[in-house]
């Protein structure tokens, strides 16, 4: 299978002045063309920042400090273009990233209520994207936009085209967002919590639509979600993130049926199941995700882990270890390999002395 996107050792930091927040802490990820992939994690796991890093829209003061995000050429050799482009090194204000944003990678967001401009017509917002990437002809762009509104099963697209977002329900707006993303025929669609803000019935409709279009258009979809239900329903492979690192990855089946990391197990136990006998109480994972500022060099999950090994989990970080074909886990209960400590990064810029007159 052809690789579309390859993330290597990605680190994203937020320089908060007094401290540095390590939002993404060495993520490795590979996404194939046409694949449906899920990144699962709680708030603060770094999953959204990873997605933002791909689009290079990490909000200030976030910065990619390490790693690469290779986006391979579409269709490989047949397009005649060699190699890909490293999104981590691209100029975020340049022309190339603007071609990629929307054109090759589209993104839809969690809040359909706020992610469309309230004062522009829906049709115009889609046409804007189409005219940036697909055609310069306004009439053609309009046809394309209408086509995708129709594909997203928006009733009466001709009329909706002229309406404003405030005329639409949340589910409709999310369909519009998706139509806008798909209208430029991207290779990859990043869906950041695409159904979180919607009713459950609308959720599954939208997921079904997305999956149908993915198969038909041959694009990849990267789902960013905290919802195991979404993941189980639509993804082929998943990665579970915790505290800026991937802790377990594999096919969706492998990870959900045979979770090997205590965090993944906890996540699954805390998720209600409809099938089978009535369960006892849901098991919540005790504690909260720590704030990733100045954390010690140890397993990120140690503070909440029921099976932490003293003297091991608190002194080193487990490396990703294969447990089955394609199934990898970052836990000392599944192997002994340790993550090599970070090459002592350019000594965290010697603390500004009180007298240097820097900004405080």
């Amino acid at each position: 299978m052809q690789e579309l996107l390859s993330i290597k050792d990605l680190r994203v930091e937020f320089d908060l002045g007094r401290a540095t927040l390590n939002a993404v802490n060495g993520v490795n990820l590979s996404l194939n063309a046409g694949e449906s992939f899920g990144i699962v994690g709680e708030s603060g796991s770094g999953k959204s920042v990873t997605a933002q890093a791909i689009m290079r829209i990490v909000p200030n003061p976030g910065k990619i400090v390490n790693g690469s995000i290779m986006l391979n050429a579409p269709g490989g050799a047949e397009q005649g273009s060699d190699g890909g482009v490293d999104l981590a090194r691209i100029n975020t204000r340049g022309g190339l990233i603007r071609k990629i944003r929307g054109g090759r990678i589209a993104m839809i967001f969690q809040e359909p209520m706020t992610s469309l401009s309230p004062v522009h017509r829906i049709g115009d917002q889609i046409v804007e994207a189409v005219m940036l990437h697909r055609t310069r002809d306004k009439a053609e762009a309009r046809d394309i936009a209408l086509h995708y509104l129709e594909r997203m099963q928006i009733t009466n697209p001709q009329q909706r085209f002229r309406e404003y977002p405030f005329n639409l329900s949340g589910g409709m707006r999310q369909r519009v967002m998706i139509a806008m993303g798909l209208a430029c025929d991207p290779d990859l669609l990043i869906a950041d919590e695409p159904t979180t803000a919607l009713d459950v019935t609308v959720q599954s409709q939208i997921l079904e639509l997305l999956e149908g279009l993915r198969e038909e258009m041959g694009m990849s979809i990267l789902y960013i979600t905290h919802d195991l239900g979404v993941v189980a329903e639509v993804t082929q492979r998943i990665a579970v993130m915790y505290l800026g690192r991937i802790v377990e990855t594999g096919t969706t089946r492998q990870v959900l049926k045979n979770p090997r990391h205590p965090y993944t197990k906890g996540l699954i136990d805390s998720f209600p199941k409809l099938s089978g006998a009535r369960q006892e109480r849901l098991q919540a994972i005790p504690g909260n995700v720590p704030v990733p500022i100045g954390l010690p060099w140890q397993c990120g999950f140690r503070s909440r882990c029921p099976v932490a090994i003293d003297g091991k989990c608190d002194t080193s970080v487990p490396a990703m270890t294969p447990v089955e074909d394609g199934h990898m886990v970052r836990c000392f209960h599944n192997g002994d390999t340790k993550e090599p400590p970070l090459p002592q990064a350019p000594a965290p810029r010697a603390r500004r002395s009180l007298f240097s007159g820097g900004r405080t």
Partner: protein, 333 residues
Amino acid sequence: MAKYILKRLIYALILLWLISIVSFLVIELPPGDYLTSVVAALEQSGSKVSVEQLEALRQQYGLDLPSYLRYFRWISGFLVGDFGYSFEWNRPVSDLVVEPLILDAFIAVLIVLVTYAIAIPIAVYSATHQYSVGDHTVTFLSLLGLATPSFLLALVTLYIATTWFGIDLTGLNSDEFLLAPWSLAKFADMLWHLPTQILIVSTYMAAGVVRVMRASLLDELRKQYVVTARAKGVGERKLLFKYPVRLALNPIISEMAMVLPATISAATVTAVVLGLPTAGPMLLRALISQDTFLSATILMFLSFLVIIGSTIADLLLVLVDPRIKLERSEIRG
């Protein structure tokens, strides 16, 4: 839409009528009347006024009538373009006020335009460079501007222009045009003198508008739809002006309804300082000498300007922001 405008106009007329009552009442509030001040002036210069003479004058000016009757005579004249008689100038008010009021309206519109032309670019720069040296400078200057009365700004400008550059910025026209009839040359000369006042008042007004616009743009810049547009591949500059700036304009358009009255009062005071023959100084003088009809008429027209201005602001807002919709019945008319 047409029906909406009509409705607004009817409201405006009712409002004007109420304003006419209130302003007439307020003008009548001080003890005495125009003749009291005339008598005082005459007595100061040594001459005596007999009681009979005074009564005759009272009757001549209609000052013996009760207030409500005089109000009624004055306001009913409005319908036929008769705004009463100015005691002090001894001429019909309509002869006196037209020229200064046109000038006033002209200046007010220019001030509003220049205010926004100054304020919007500065606010956009300030918000997109938040906490930079430039932003702090803008913030400092606009707070200073807010705290400085416009007449003081006018005085300082005059002082600097006269003592440092030897330029006389007062008046509407250079001396040679003062008594000349209106001509193209006189108009051109006026355009040379007007900017002083317009710039002074606009700078003063812009300080407030910058604060509002900067705050609202900062809000908009953080909104999700900005990220959406960026994720579509829209260039940063186009994105800035098409989305957040566009939305950040709404509050300052609705603020126009407030900017206009403030403009007129600031323009009045600066016009006094700069010696401009606008309605402002004339109003001030008429108020001091208790020239009832003249001052009430000027007040009426200034209110009219303000009401027109805020109606325009409301209509603009409907055009700019689709979320503000007139009620269905009002649209269909």
